[in-house]
Assembly symmetry: D2
Homo-oligomer: 340 residues x 4
């Protein structure tokens, strides 16, 4: 195998940052986790003790200055994504950044413009479903004509309810349920439908459980419709209040068949028959569902860097997901259909 | 068992009319099929030869004049439902009528008003899902609190594609895809959510296969959102172009759980493992899915007549389904959200 | 429709007898329930009050003497089946009898011999799975070559545990778990494999819960293997101790595919997602699973009588099921393979 | 993380050997693939080019002599397993060996005796199901009492038919269908039932497709029953002729519930609805089903070496699987129940 090892620095060592760091340190061929950065001394200590990461920084600028670094992995709060991507590019680093690119359209476009100035550098936003084996299989089947012309995507991202409502305090900065959760479904819909132009969206929502969301105009359950050019459509459901676990399901309807990816969020291959009937357990969070896809995503990005290949999704894809997500939020808040 | 037998006349002996007639003749305790009416000599001959129906008429008025008739079953074109219900009531007959009550709201209201003048007579519109054992089980579970407070219904009625497009010629009189197909989902949503007032609807549609529908402004695939008072919501999907068969699926989400009724439209309890993987066959039409529910529906109506009980759904329910269905059509055609 | 109505007398009004009686009285075209017979005054009163049965007898001989009776339905204890079938035939009645034909092979053969003396009379043993729509679909698929040459059946009859162990007191007269439960699987295996000659059987069993069975040499869980001529095989599982409900599942493996009938014993088409994961409820007893098949079975038998057609399964089929069942019991008790 | 890296040599670079080598080279934290051995120059070249393996040998003795090697992975023909394990131990290496330990009981015991002389060295046979996440979940559930006392395992290993019958030529050295395939089920049954002593086995088989197997007394489909002490039982099904793919399914029945692991061998989370009904694709071979388990198995073994922990299964477990497998073969060939 050719391609020099990629020396990576992880930025952000929260729950998901730790997982990216562990993958890069232990499970991604051709990657070296040489540095990590976190404002938390505990998190830095974790990286040192658990992964043996040698160079640890409290500050992103310091990490960027680390000699010989090829790429950064940004696993930081949404609000700093654009500036950190730009800084990474200007420091000559390839950049992987967790979704979303930004909550604001102009920031998305500014990042796209900056990236265009660094054509040699790879930039990819972590729309992880594109790297899930089952989503990929569905996409290949569609591309091969297995369901004729696809014209409808019905997709949902639904999280298990946290009775403590801990997330409510972060809701004001989340961009709202559609920008926070449904961008995954939007990106999947665009990908599976062949990236048609969106024309019009409509959304409604309700607070089923967490009344505290009313303060910031957010909801804990929302449904939406998106109309694309050429007659394609998508419907979206987002929920933070499921009783049984996390469930990401995407259905694609074509003129000659239908595919469903991920129905029921099965945790594993065990079926239980007892006094409750016959049942399967559900993935408690997105992590159990997409653990393997996160690894494949990172392997993909590292390979793009090593072998100078274009990433499987572009910044423009990420911008479009944000653009539609913003329109959904507008529709919810202003109670009207929104043209795009 | 008390209750005198109910002497019934069936009006309309098309495909579904024949099935209602056969049920009444052979499988409904306490019912006697004494007469039937069809403009077609062949259909009348069928009733005589197959069911032994003694009194056969070409004309509804003649059938109404048949001495001793207690009830009529109207299985006739949508457009004549209102006048035939009214005529039946005025002739002193209990009336069962296939859905929809009417495609026009004022006609619905006129029928309601007429029925109010005959409080002794039973009138019921055939929203058959209310009599399906699985839908009833779901409704009972919801009523018992099994899923907490229900706040979202996601329902679909999808038919197998008829490549001949035979149905296109009837589309102009069908009321459009939502009034023709989705009224079932609307009625189910109202029933399962506890009959909340609708507030606003939005719909979009596309012609995936049958271009001929463009002439009458109809579509062969449509999706819709309905917002109810109190934060309840429904999403609806209607299709006439499924590759695998008929599928009626209804999902009800509550604050403590979720139910799904009828997923995948399994034809029976046989699973096949062969070169295509592991699979089940799908009900080709609504009939295989709801054959038993049609019988239970008729048994229910006959028992309401025999034992003077109120039917399980009211004319007002049928009016509401039409009212929401009309709003969905308006939203589709006028490309706007419609307030109710 | 030609064919005079069949005047039927039901013999035995226990739980299953009541169900057969209700079917015959209310739901079987061409049948008239004219008489019933039970030693219990309560049960006779039930038939009169609930079904309007006019002629009620305490004694089988009296019922046989009822003028004009065409057929009898025997829903009586296993031990009296042979003598009652013979008496019915000698009285000139068509006979339907619940399974098994007998627990003793010589009695089976004696009944076959008697029936041969009355070629005009129909006799059928109630192997109800042959009339289940899904089993019939599987049998038709096999006959059409859908799975190539079938060579293996894996079948189970498993009942929900009754913690009271009520059934233990009847175990001594049941013939043991294989003759009581597995004869259904044996009959299904013979039917689906094309009635090959059995060659050898082997069985083992265990008492998982109900220690009281040890007294009569019975078990509450047993597994068995049956080898047929020509290389066909069957494996059987019988249990009385399932936690989740009744489950009758039959798998048929052929050279080009596999069918599974009735996996998981789903009660209905409702799926529940809650804190237990995603689940379906299970049929609590065989009745919920086979209610429709019992009706179809009775319709079939009545039609055989009305239109002078041969029943779908013969007395010889019933004899063979008993013969194999006896061999399984012998294998269990004597701890050896048994040649047939 | 403490624990020095483990320097591993892979022995055998056939299909499965390549996979183990790639895991060790790229995906197992704490492992270094320092050498590999194969009689095939092409395979050695593959290891050099694809994995960058530096030291390549044509001969096992040479590899054992490689300085600094800690452990060997034997992925070689069954017949050489015992001698190679012994040689590895005598050379002071930890040994991982693919299943089975041996096809002969005395060889198993000899290896056990040799291993006892090297208490510091880890030896593990690759019963990969013990490292599958779903099997592990089932085992934990059982251990926690979720299904009461387990008393029955029903397990199958069924491979997709290879119409070319290529495997027939290897059948004489495979040990027969039960020793080649069912040892996995036997080991799983012992593990899940708590390692009870086997008492008696019975098996039958048939040639459904591959007549050439008759020459060596083998079959392409076999079923078996195993009786353990204390009333536990297992039934086993092995097939080489499935139409739809590889399926490894294990059902565990307890006094309070039942678990099923791996039903239907689903390839992934995609469901397809088309003219064939609704279906999922099946894993074509055991590899797609157990790819992750093979990695987890290797990680486990490497960790056992690094941190001086006892492996999750013992040589005695492997001996027992062979012992029962031999009894099943004897039962098949001698057409009798075999006491153990």
């Amino acid at each position: 195998m050719s391609g020099d090892p990629v020396r990576v620095g992880v930025v952000g060592l929260g729950r998901l940052g730790k997982r990216h760091a562990a993958n890069l340190a232990l499970r991604v061929p051709g990657a070296e986790l040489v540095a990590a950065c976190s404002p938390s001394a505990d998190e830095r200590e974790w990286a040192k003790a658990t992964l043996g990461t040698k160079h640890l920084y409290a500050d992103y600028a310091q990490l960027l200055a680390h000699p010989g670094l090829d790429a950064v992995f940004l696993v930081t709060p949404n609000t700093v994504h654009p500036e950190q991507i730009v800084a990474g590019l200007r420091a000559g680093k390839h950049v992987f950044c967790e979704k979303p690119l930004s909550l604001e359209l102009d920031e998305c476009l500014a990042v796209e413009a900056e990236a265009a100035r660094h054509p040699r550098l790879k930039v990819m936003i972590g729309y992880v479903r594109r790297f899930d084996a089952s989503y990929q299989d569905a996409q290949k089947k569609i591309a091969s004509g297995a369901i004729g012309r696809p014209f409808l995507v019905r997709s949902q991202t639904t999280d298990m309810n946290d009775p403590s409502g801990f997330f409510v305090r972060f809701a004001p900065k989340s961009g709202g349920i559609f920008l926070d959760m449904s961008v995954h479904d939007i990106d999947a819909a665009r990908w599976l439908l062949g990236a048609p132009q969106p024309r019009r969206v409509f959304s409604v929502g309700t607070i089923a459980v967490h009344e505290g969301l009313a303060d910031c105009g957010d909801v804990d359950n929302g449904v939406a419709v998106c109309e694309f050019e050429g007659g394609a459509m998508a419907t979206i459901y987002a929920s933070r209040t499921m009783a049984h676990g996390h469930e990401t399901t995407t259905e694609i309807v074509g003129t000659a068949g239908r595919l469903v990816v991920g129905r029921d969020g099965r945790l594993n291959q065990v079926e239980i028959a007892d006094g409750h009937g016959i049942r399967t357990e559900t993935t408690p969070t997105f992590w159990e569902r997409f653990e393997d896809a996160f690894l494949r995503e990172t392997v993909h990005f590292v390979d793009c860097v090593r072998f100078d290949r274009p990433p499987g999704l572009t910044l423009h894809d990420a911008t479009e997901a944000t653009r539609i997500g913003i329109a959904l939020r507008t529709s919810l808040v202003e109670r009207r259909a929104v043209e795009l």
